[in-house]
Amino acid sequence: MRRFLITAAVAATAIVATGLTAAAADKLKIGLIYLGPVGDFGWTYQHEVGRQGLVKTLGDQVETTYLENVNEGPDAERSIEQLARAGNKLIFTTSFGYMDSTLKVAKKYPNVFFEHATGFKRAPNMSTYSGRFYEGRYIQGMIAAKMSKKGVLGYIGSFPIPEVISGMNATMLGAQTINPDIKVKIIWVNAWFDPGKEADAAKALADQGVDVLMQHTDSPAAMQIAAQRGILAFGQDSDMIKFGPKSQLTAIVDNWEPYYEQRARDVLAGKWKSEDTWGGLKSKLVVMAPYTNMPDDVKALAEKTEAAITNGSLHPFKCPVVDQSGKAVECKGGDHLDDGQILSMNFYVKGVDDKMPGK
């Protein structure tokens, strides 16, 4: 499929070169680069849902192309450049690892607008956008601590990057409000998408006595294992309830559609600006799936916490945040850590026994 799309992109480039651009000029061409397959039922799937929503609402005004299964690395740069050369005026690159590639291509094509998900490098024609997933993680931590009989959570990590680390920390901080002695077992699979390996990690955690599973990887494999083993789990990126009808407590759902639509409208109206968008529960970029498989009091607690985070009265990283060594982290955001600290988080909070890879 990907090869086909690239071929299509090359063909489109040829057409542009022969001067047929005028006819297509009215339509805004939008390109997207996906890390996994659109059917991963997780991260990439949600971006695809966003794209489809965009096409539905803007209809004839836009024309979208996507490339799936694009590796983070040299492949990414080539693919992004293909999209730019094919005449796409707005390009979404939807994984952290595309950051430098996107920046490089953005510098080469100053008239194309780039949108990079979950990164921190920007340019006059390159914006960043992400979700405050840690807000959802905090709620999940509270639910997990309430629901775990053994007080041990299992956490499947992809790569130790700030987004994942801040999610783990938010989980622990939420959990510690319920059970100060809560423990977490962390397994890094060093992959975003490998259903077999994700399942292996989930099995290992279940075998070691974990009764609530969380994941920061892209497929529903862990949810499936939770369902098989009769333990509880949280969905990731999308609502995974059908993979674990009796296991899913809730899920953090990435809701990109409103953002994609807004940015496309901005380009159409000629008022696109380079900015950094980081939306959470409040802007509905992060949405919680229905709270299921838990008693009413836990559900009420989760809903109350969700409301508090949404209206801003509760911040998951409210100070003092204490790191593993017992030292309080500098509080740059007044009464909570500021966005920069969360976006570059590279320490575990107190209560995580694990040693961070590479530290």
Binding site: R3, G36, G39, F41, G196, Q224, K242, D354, K355
Partner: protein, 306 residues
């Protein structure tokens, strides 16, 4: 002790798809054909295997579909490399790309569907035995099949006339041809067998491992299977050892992380591959003939002269 049992069960489950795919590829390579399309045949097996099981509700039908899909893709490979004498490496790589794309297309309608996992053997009395019960008598049918397959391949290669002919063709197709053996026919059968095994290995993933289909779910296992054949220096029993070793290192590193042993996870994730390199070095050091472990005609195009 329960943890040990659980780990062994996980190791066997993780090793089985590698063993199935590698066993098939071993036979193909022993006949002198290098088919790099294992990943593509596996993912086709996964898509078609899931489709078959989902539509009929039967694991066995799913497995048959998976095997057939792998063999069908292998037939394309055979047509090109044996029939038209196209370069095997290029064709194999193309086959992987074709398989990955085509499986996504076929599987698109099945993404998000669920099936029942392949049933596990249960013999009252035996399966309940402590520690070894579930390991020996509580596996799914693929596990027993993969072991039988390796034993069967060993017997065929070293104890039958057919196996001797196949090895002779792999080592020197010109001589075998001169002696009157049907080089292309034997290779065709070997390639189809390899494809069926790869398809079956792919089908194992959605049927017995994670009971859903997702495009790209083989995630590189086909390439590992290819490496295992080299690792085993083209010998079936070593192949079984290698597959289980690889599975064991993969699973143990996950457990080590969960237990918080404090070893960097990046290092542990690379352990299976490091182990492969180490064993390869050891083999080549201890065997004076290491360089000639590969079938001598491996990857070479054969065009029969009249």
């Amino acid at each position: 002790m329960e943890l040990v049992e659980a780990i062994v069960l996980s190791v066997i489950a993780a090793s089985t798809p590698l063993l199935l795919a590698a066993a098939g590829e071993l036979v193909a390579e022993r006949s002198g054909v290098l088919n790099l399309g294992v990943e593509g045949m596996m993912i086709m097996g996964a898509a078609c295997g899931f489709a078959g099981a989902f539509l009929t509700g039967s694991t066995l039908v799913g497995a048959a579909f998976g095997g057939a899909a792998g063999a069908a893709l292998a037939a394309i490979f055979a047509l090109l490399t044996l029939g038209l004498a196209v370069n095997q490496v290029a064709t194999g790589l193309a086959l992987t790309i074709l398989g990955v794309g085509l499986s996504g297309l076929i599987g698109a309608g099945f993404v998000g569907q669920r099936i029942v996992l392949a049933p596990h053997l249960f013999i009252p009395g035996l399966t309940d035995l402590p520690l070894i019960g579930r390991i020996l008598f509580g596996q799914d049918v693929f596990v027993y099949l993969s072991i039988a397959l390796v034993a069967g391949i060993w017997w065929f290669l070293y104890r039958t006339r057919g196996g001797l002919v196949l090895r002779a063709i792999g080592d020197n197709h010109a001589s075998a041809h001169a002696l009157g053996y049907p080089v292309l026919k034997v290779r065709l059968l070997a390639v189809l067998f390899g494809g069926a095994c790869a398809g079956l290995a792919g089908a194992y993933l959605p049927l017995a491992y994670t009971p859903f289909f997702i495009p790209g779910m083989t995630a590189g296992r086909g390439w590992i299977a290819l490496a295992l054949v080299v690792f085993a220096s083209w010998r079936p029993l070593r192949l079984a050892g290698g597959a289980y070793l690889f599975g064991a290192v993969t699973i143990l590193q996950l457990h080590a992380q969960g237990l918080g042993l404090g070893i960097p996870s990046q290092l542990m994730s690379s352990l299976p591959y490091l182990a492969t390199v180490v064993v390869l070095v050891l083999i080549s050091r201890t065997r004076a003939t290491a360089g000639s472990a590969a079938p001598a005609s491996l990857g070479m195009v054969f065009v029969p002269d009249r």
